[in-house]
Structures are given as C-alpha cells and as structure tokens.
Subunit: 286 residues, 4 copies
C-alpha cells in the first residue's frame, strides 16, 4: 500500500493504434508517475480495455480539473471511461437477512483496515442482527418485506441509500429479490455472493442441489447484480473439495468459509478500482 494518493483511469474503446501511448503521454506530459498500467485487448470483439494509475502528488493538473482535462482525449479516441481518486472513501451499505457469517466477516475486515471505505449502513429484512451490527458502528435499519410491502419498502430503502450517499451495496446473503429500480441505480455497484459455482446451481438452495447431484467440488461466486437472477458479471469464484461423507450441513459449513473469502476478495477488488465491467463479463486487473 502506497501512502501517496493516486488517480485511476478505467477505460474501454475500439482497439486501434496509439491507445497506450495516448494515455501514458497524457500522464507523463503532466509530470505524473505511473504506478500501475495494465490493458487487455479482446481480439474477438476488437475492444481495448485499460487500467492506469498514477500518483497525484506533483501532477500538474489539479484533481478537480482532471476529468475536464482528460475528457477531450477520451472523446477523440471514442473511449468510455471512469476516473477514480484513491483517497476518495466510498460509502458502503450491506444488505443482510439472518445469516451472519458474511456480514461479520466484512465488518471485521473493515475494522482490521482491509477495505478503504466507510460502512455507515446495514439494511435487513429481519431485526436479528441489530445489536451485532451496532456494536461495530453502522446504523442498522430494519425493513420487513412482504409481497405487498416490497415496492414501498424498496422506495424507502432507495431514499435512505441516497440520503446516506451510498456508493456500493453488498448483498451479504440477502435472501430477497430486488426490484429493477434499485438494481438499475446500482448497476456495477451492487455485489452479491451466490453460494454455488455459477452457472451451476443458480437460484434457491444450491447446497441441496449440489448434494443431490453428487458433485465432488462445491463453489461460491461473487458477481455484480443485474436484472436476471444470478446472471450478472462474475468478479470472483472459488471452490472446495467435498465427498460422499459430507452431508448437506457439511456443504453449508464448508461453503460458508468459501462465501466469506470470495465475497471479501470481490469487494476488495472493486474498492481498489481493479474491476472493469465489459459486456456481461469483468476484466480484473489484479
């Protein structure tokens, strides 16, 4: 971890000559020191994707003018782009139901300094975890959900998320389908953990499905949420070996350890501006 702050550009455009030179020149000409640059060309689709990070200390363009200065270059080259400043501290809301393992894991990692972010808010459809959460600091807001109240509750959740200026939602085993409005507003900014090796066993009760099928390995998948359930761009996956000796309960227990690690890795990659969504896939510049 560097103690100096940096700026990160995440960009994509049609592949053509001079793209690497164009961005590195922009930075060099303004006295920037590049600390990371990585790019990928999808040669099938002819798309160029890049992540480039440089130190803001000594950079000739003040940070508030950065976007304005790079915009014309990007426009000329037909780039889609995002600019992130490493010293911006994103604000996270965690959604949770009753299962505490992922929530606890995130809160502990946050307290241990693993995530450069604030977690001001936890939203749940159950009251159970209130005292646990508040012991760590975040506000706990309980939104009971029924078929009839779902839409109204979600409208209130959105208002709360706005009020709290939330940048990233983490679904830490939140057992509810979300409405289109919420999903749309947090496109590429809402991370879910699904307790299977997607695309195997989407939907409900994946450990039971895995047990029935007799697989020898189970997995967990962290992905951005899209309108289609368990179909969004995958950020990270991992697996663990199981055998006939493992009951469904054993799969659940082993799976919990996977879920925690896979979700934490995905969140960390996102927060360090390492993930670029592209079609329904991700490029992970790790």
């Amino acid at each position: 971890m560097s103690d100096t702050s940096t700026a990160v550009l995440l960009l994509s455009c049609r592949d053509r000559k001079g793209l690497v030179a164009a961005t590195s020149d922009f930075i060099y000409q303004n006295n920037g020191n590049i600390v990371h640059a990585d790019q990928h060309v999808d040669s099938e689709q002819g798309v160029f994707l890049q992540r480039i990070e440089w130190e803001t200390a000594g950079f000739r363009i003040p940070r508030e003018e950065l976007a304005g200065a790079f915009g014309p270059i990007a426009e000329k080259l037909g780039m889609q782009w995002e600019l992130r400043l490493s010293d911006y501290v994103p604000r996270i809301a965690i959604f949770v139901s009753r299962l505490e393992h992922c929530l606890y894991d995130l809160l502990l990692r946050h307290r241990a300094g693993e995530f450069q972010a604030e977690i001001p808010l936890v939203i749940s459809n159950h009251p159970d975890l209130q005292s646990v959460v508040e012991g760590f600091g975040p506000q706990y807001r309980h939104f009971p959900i029924t078929k009839d109240t779902r839409a109204a509750q979600e409208a209130q959740q959105i208002a709360l998320l706005q009020e709290q200026r939330i940048d990233l939602i983490i679904l830490a085993r939140y057992m509810q389908i979300l409405g289109d409005e919420l999903v749309h507003r947090f496109r590429n900014r809402m991370i879910n953990i699904h307790h299977s090796f997607l695309p195997a066993f989407p939907g409900a009760r994946p450990y039971h499905q895995a047990y029935e099928r007799g697989v020898k390995i189970i997995g967990a998948t962290s992905h951005y949420v899209t309108a289609e359930l368990d179909q969004g761009p995958i950020i990270e996956q991992d697996v663990v070996r199981v055998s006939h000796r493992d009951s469904v309960e054993d799969l659940i227990r082993k799976g919990k350890d996977l879920e925690k690690v896979v979700l934490a890795r995905a969140v960390s990659l996102h927060l360090r501006n390492r993930v670029l969504v592209y079609g329904n896939k991700t490029v992970v510049f790790d």
Copy 2:
C-alpha cells in the same frame, strides 16, 4: 501396492445393526486378513454402503467358492453386493474421435504400470489415430458413423466388445452420442470425461460456453455414462483458475491438462474397485 492378491466386497443395503460385524466376522472366521474396510451410512436415506478388502492368501475359502459362501450372508441381510478379485485383470476398450491427448495419456499411464488392466482395443469413428495406437499395442478399429449407419455400426461394436471380453469402456473425448443398448450393457462400466465442471456447461462446446459466461474457474468431470447426456454419477472433478486474459484457445489448452488427470484418476479409482454407484451418485472409498 501390496504384492499379495486380495478380494474386495462392495456392498449396500438398508442400514441396521451388525452389518460391519457380519462382514468382518465372515472374513475373520475364515482366517482372512482385512487390509482395508470403509463404510458410509447415508443417514437421510438409511442406506449402508461398504467396501472391505482382505488378503486371499491363507483364506480358508477357495476363491471359486467365495461368492457361494458369502451369498447366504448377503441374502439374510438384504445386501446388494459385488465381489472383485484384485488379480483379475480387467480388459478395457477406449473410444476416441480425433483428439489424442486423453488417449495418449491413458496409453502412457498404462505402459508406466499405473493401471492394472489390459487395453486390447481402441474404437474410433475416425482413422486418424491408428498408427499412434498400434505403436502402443492395442488393436485399432475404425467405425465411421453417420446418422444412417449409427445403429448398425453400434451393433457391430457391441459384438466386437463381447468378442474381446471388454469389462470397461473409456470414452476419451469420443464425440458421439451412444445408443441405449451399448449404454445399458455397460452400466457403471463406461466412464466419460466431460470438459466442464458439471452441471455447469453440459452438452457441446463447454469451453466456448465458459468463455462467454466469463467464469473465473473452469473444470472437468469424469462420470459413468447413463442414458441422459452428461447426467451420470460423478466419479471425479477438478478445476483450474482462468482469467480474462485467457482466450477460448487458452481454456481449451488448460482444460486438456485437467481432462487427462481427471479421467485418469477416475479410471484408476474404478480399476482399484474404489467406486460404488448408489442412486445417481458415487461413493468413492479412497
């Protein structure tokens, strides 16, 4: 590897008291030395499954009378059972199309002594690999398959498999659907390698499917063949990490290494009488 020959019982029945004692007593009372015994109780379904192996040297019951002697015990306890003698050398037929990597791998492992088996026969729907195979020893038989000739060719294949007294078929990336007759005759004796982490990506072109979906891990699955494509009992699976940098060709290349190892492990487990099929699952006594 012991140099003494052994007998193996693979059995299953409704769980009840005294099952472990019944089989171990049978062996002990007849002066047998148990070298491996393992069992599993599926407590959901109340099924007991066991593998027990003992040295035939010094055993009071001659091998040709073994089945007759154990039969009444099994009947009394309602057991399904199979008796295998470790010095019986099973005869394998490998089915292959054009891809050579699994075939070669199996032939090399066989030559290196990894499989206690004979491989007298390789069957293919293409002539390409004839000289490779014959250099290793097995007979190579070419059965071109078209929609119209499929049934007739398969009848001839079955006749050949019988004539050659084949115990086990290995589908080493054989790109043809097999008829019910052949599948039925080799129930639990025909092992396929599928180039995905089943149940993800069944059917054709799984590496292309995996590439499209943007998964971060790919796999391979070895299973017994049943009437439903890629749905049979899984024997072994393994995975390897991939990234956005991997093209479809890279997935294929990495996948080949997986396929070879996963298929070889499954074949080895089968030949060492370690696999007991049970419902649509396997118990692997490893």
Copy 3:
C-alpha cells in the same frame, strides 16, 4: 450430525489378523450400532490404526464401564487406545498475542455452533483483546511475559489450566515459545497454527521469508505442538496462489484467510475425534 450420542475408539497396534473383527465384534455382541469405522495399515511399519464409532443408545455396557470392558480385549491384542464419548464437552483455552483474526474466527465459529466444546478461557501476553474476548463470554487472563518472568508465569498458567479443567489448548497466533512442562502436559492436546507451508519457512516471519524467496504459492499449517519448534505432527495444511504483484503486506493479508480456515479445520477434526497421532504424523479419519 446424528442427535444420538456415540462412543469413539481410537486405537493402534502391530498389524495382525482379526483386528477389525475383534473390535466390531465387541460392539456388535453388545448390541451396538456402528456408525463409522475406518482403519489404516502402515504397511512399511506394520502398524494398524483404527477409528470406530458406535451409538451408545441401546448398548449393553453402561458408559462408565466401557473402558473396563474393552481394556482386556485391547490388552490381549497389544493395542494402545483412547475412548471418547461424543457427549463429553471438551474445554478449550485459547492463547493469543495481539493478532485478533484467528481468535475472532474461533469465537465466531464457536458461537455459530461449529465446535462442540466450551471456551471458558483466553490467555494472552498482552492486554489488548480483553474487551473483544469478554464480549463473547470467556474469561480473559493477561500474563505479561519477559525473559525473567516466563517460567513463573507459565507455572501460574498451568495452575489456571488445571483449575479450569482445560482439555485442549489452541495457539491462535500466540507469539511465544512455550516451556517443556506445558508442552508435555498437553501433548497431542495443543494445536498451533503456523503461517507457512511447513516444512518451508519455519520460525519467525515466514511471510517475509516467502516474499524473499519468490514462491508462487503460500500456505498455512496446523499441527500439534512438540518440544521442537514447528516440527510437530501436521493435522491440516492449505495454500493460496500469490504473484510478484503481492507485497509482503498482501501475503500477510491473504495468509490470514488461510490461517483461520486451516486452524478451524484442525480444531474441528480434533474435537470430532478424527485425529490419531502416530510417530510424528497424524492419521486423519475424515
């Protein structure tokens, strides 16, 4: 997990005929239902090792007479053996310094019901984690250690461990060398987590050593503590891939996730009476 209580025998002796039959007969003749039996023969050393577990419900020998009843059989066959009752609840003391990740992980798993055990006591050479620990329930005892006070403090720790009737010590990143007396008293009952893939990088600062050496994979090892540092019988190990991009801090961060899981697995195996120490190795009947 069955809801009925069971008895477990863990035994070893010179290999000979009739050992499996002897123990299973003892159980069967007394109306026991065997729910797990597994054994291993080390054919190089001619040693037989077994784990056998049966339901105590309906067993003709009362639990308080079990040891007395099996003793003569064991003696006749020259067996070393231990008897464990599944409804006995072992008492654990966790030793910790300042790093909280393993401690927290163990306390959370305990609260989630993963360990059938009590954790009445946490001992530390630092005061830092007192409030964390007490929030979970255990007593926190601070024993500052200097070169001069070590022996006296350890004597007091031993007295406290006895008073608290501790069965198992877990060193959850306890950064102190322990005295022979303590190690001896808790032989095969003290589990350490070492933050490397032993025997690579024993001793201090293994992540720094790994970074210097440029390895592509790092690991963690859980083992029983013996008089020789990091040389005890290994219970469980696992690894994670790293690259040149990972700084020492990244190795430490990735390693923490490994340490937690590897230590928790080892503790769980021990508590479920799955581990049999044998020479300087373990047999893990999983």
Copy 4:
C-alpha cells in the same frame, strides 16, 4: 494467439517518472500497435520492470534495426533490456535420465503445437529412452556420466549445444548435478523441475522426505538453474492434496502429474517471453 508477428521488450531499471511513456511513445511514434504492456514496480527496492509487445507489421523500424533504435533510449534511462521477436523459433535441448514422464509430456505438447520452438536434441546419461525420443524426431545423444568423466562429458555437451545453436535447456528430471560452466552459459535459459514445493524438501528424494514429515499437500517447482542446487528463481509451482493413505509410491504417482504440468507451464511462459528474472526472483507477466 495472433497470427501476426510481434516484438517484445523485457526491461528493468531504477523506477522514475516517464518510463511507461518513454517505451510506449517509442512504439507509437514508429506506428506500432501495442498488443500487451504490463509493468511492475518493486517499491521496496525502487525497481521498475516492464514487458511490452507490439505488432511488427507496419512498424516503421525494420526488425534488424530495432535493437539499434531502442538502444539509445534504454541507455538514457539506464535500462537493462532484452528484445525478442515472436517469429524467432528457439531451439530446445531436453536433458533426461531414465524417467520418461516429463520428457514424453514435453514431446507430446510440442507435437500438439503448444510450444513455438524446435526440439532438435535430447541428451541423456542413460541409453534407455533413445527409441522413444527418435520416434518423435529429435536426435538422442547418450553421455554416460561418472565422477571421473563428468567434466570431459560436459565439455562435449557444451560443444554439441553450441553446434546445435540451443537457446533453452530443459532438465526433465535429469538426475545429475551440472558443472558451473554449463550453468553459467545458460543462465536464465535452463529450466529445471524439482519434485517438491520448494523451499521445502530440496535435494534428493523429496517424496520420501514428504512422506516422512507427514505433510498433507505435496508440490512441484519449476525454476531457472543457478549454481546453488534448487535455489534458482522460481517460475511456477503447484500442489496436490495427499493423505495418510498415500504411500511413497502414491506420492510419486501423484507428483508425476504435477511435475508434468508445472514444467510445461514454466516452459510455455518462458517461450512466450513472459518471464523476467530479477534478483533471485521472477516477474511472470501472464
């Protein structure tokens, strides 16, 4: 895989501003299309390392003048650098003793088109594998080695390697210590496979050492050869899980599968100019 040829620069120097821009500008100003660029800064040592690859088609500097054109830039920036052309076909010599698995694996992969290289020569201290090798095409040269003949034989080997214009030596389980002269001449161009997870179990009989120690995971390591045995820069490692049930023979069998894959990956990385040696470590731009 692109069908157009490319040039690759592998370079390292003290970190300073403008390095990324300097190389990408050089390429862009000469009408090159960058297809891969990756760099790494070792912030502890202040070293910048880069790999940059561009299409030679349309590049304004002819390939024979490339080195001359880049040289002054490199000199100005104090860079150590190597230039590789993707259509140059390196020539490989494989050294082997009696074990055939790695040799066979390399020859098969080569025939399957996995390596862009020629393998004109196999050198062995035993005659055993001559017919296998010659069936694949390479010349097989037998150099029996004794303590007395070692130096003289190695001098002849060096002459042969020169005559054959060998670029890369692969030690495919070659069970001989090599002399300093040979090691020195092929610095960073001689790849060994060691059958353990280094730095655990260096030297002789690592599988026996692993068995004695009772590890739960074994590994294989591919590294460049240096004067100190098993101490060179690590290119690739991988592991596989084992248990008390695995005899030394099982470890050897499982290890063989690892050795093949790990060695093949290391060779492939080297041939695709992905490996930059740096101190006693590698940066693998994959």
